[in-house]
Symmetry: C2
Subunit: 300 residues, 2 copies
């Protein structure tokens, strides 16, 4: 698609904040790039970038144009995908942005399942916090968004949502292990392993704790679940998670999950969807369908 090269150039200049830097990553001379920009601005009749002593910066007109450019480029991807699909090819890239709660085995399993059927399809999975997923979709960094407890949904087209109550994870020998359902104050008596508040689970817990006047004592806190996973817990400690993110081998590891009373901690929701007003590529649409079907069967 050589004809939308100018678009790519504008996008890169905007990202780099300087014509010379952009020219370097684009592997052309600054003068050529500069002239392309001048041509575009000339055709448009307006400046797109304001010139600063240290480089360039998008002005309002430029932002309008850049939004169009991003729409246009990803719509072209969709077109290519649909055309490829016509000829029976199953190719393309499925790009997904998820909140960290979805980085567990569920999504990985779905990707594996999909790829076993369509080996030509590649995946790109990005992790963003729940407040940033929608923005990533707006910027066309991904086609599909899957978020637990998103902070806003203005430009998000929800295709499926899934109830995911908070569970408490503990060793089988734990004093609370016999219970069928836990109250939050019971958990609060033990040392807790918590993520930070960018996570949906932690956010639900914190809000509930404030409402109920309970103090949650974190013995360890991290924004990375990988770190917490590697942290060898003691037998007293409790952690929290949602079903879709609870490892399947919990039992083998001598642990179990007990739900927390929804009156104490409200049930959260996983939202699955894409940017509003977009038609996403075929492969993405098919994967989306598979995921929602699996969710409905496994958790619904």
């Amino acid at each position: 698609m050589r004809h939308l090269l100018p678009y790519k150039y504008v996008e890169e200049i905007a990202k780099a904040g300087s014509i010379r830097k952009a020219a370097e990553t684009l592997a052309i001379t600054p003068s050529a790039l500069n002239r392309r920009l001048l041509t575009i601005e000339d055709e448009l009749g307006v400046q797109i970038f304001e010139r600063l002593p240290v480089g360039v910066r998008l002005n309002t007109a430029g932002e309008i144009l850049l939004e169009h450019i991003r729409n246009q480029m990803s719509d072209m991807e969709r077109v290519k995908s649909q055309i490829a699909d016509l000829s029976g090819q199953r190719r393309g890239t499925v790009s997904i942005v998820t909140s960290p709660e979805l980085q567990g085995s569920f999504l990985a399993g779905e990707v594996l399942k999909y790829q076993s059927e369509f080996p030509g399809v590649t995946f790109q999975i990005t992790q963003k916090f729940r407040g940033e997923v929608e923005q990533a979709l707006i910027e066309h960094q991904a086609d599909i968004g899957i978020v637990y407890e998103p902070t806003k949904l203005a430009d998000f087209q929800t295709l499926y949502n899934l109830v995911q109550p908070v569970y408490c994870i503990m060793e089988k020998s734990h004093p609370l292990a016999a219970k069928k359902s836990l109250r939050l104050y019971e958990c609060a008596e033990f040392p807790l392993i918590l993520t930070d508040k960018t996570w949906g689970v932690r956010n639900l817990l914190s809000q509930s704790a404030i409402r109920l006047g309970i103090n949650l004592r974190a013995v360890i806190q991290s924004d990375s679940r990988g770190f917490l996973n590697n942290y060898g817990r003691t037998s007293e400690q409790l952690s929290f998670d949602i079903p879709i993110n609870i490892p399947e081998n919990l039992d083998e590891r001598g642990m179990l999950a007990v739900p927390i009373n929804p009156l104490d901690v409200p049930e959260g929701f996983v939202f699955v969807g894409h940017l509003k007003g977009r038609t996403i590529p075929v492969a993405s649409a098919r994967f989306l369908e598979q995921v929602t079907t699996q969710m409905a069967g496994q958790f619904g």
Copy 2:
């Protein structure tokens, strides 16, 4: 926008059905145009047109691409419009497709009003029958659609709709002129001036007549209102119209309009809106706002 010249070329080839003819209207050589097409197909990896002995014809891939091209081109218009609006210019073109009921003085007055405020804005008004308006929007022949009694609204984003009951138009001396409201069987006793069924009013009348077992006797029938207007009516004859299309000087011409009982003929609706999922140019959006406000004030 030189970079979307290839798009324009594809569109023209599709329209002309032949490279040579398209080349002529595009004022370039067939060989150059052909090579551009081959380049595009090469970049896309698929043929866009199937080659026939008598020319070329879009295949499925081509249709997908053409839809993208039309979206892209009209979205670029929107971008330019929004950018022009930033710098305080009020320029651009407002393109409207309406059913014939809207070609009366109402819309013309609104256009005049708008242009008196923004002389830089030009208008393009196209008439289509109620079943074709939506398709015209899909093909990006216009930004705004205004239809009386549309046949479908699948891709139509309604921004306003207006109740428009059917009125009966007659001379002041007519036997029915004293009534405040008419039954359909009363009208059926007189010779009628009717449009054909592509018109919404006629469609409402015909359906009601069938339901009520009434026979409507048309002394003259035409799909063109202009013709009917020039037709010198006799004092007995009746015609039908909706308020928004009734001329303001009816009284001066010795005529009046009497509503038909909605129990006999259901009230029709004027739908105002644009293609679903589109952001229309600034001038169009502003005009749309003016029209709906005026409609609400004058008829709502």
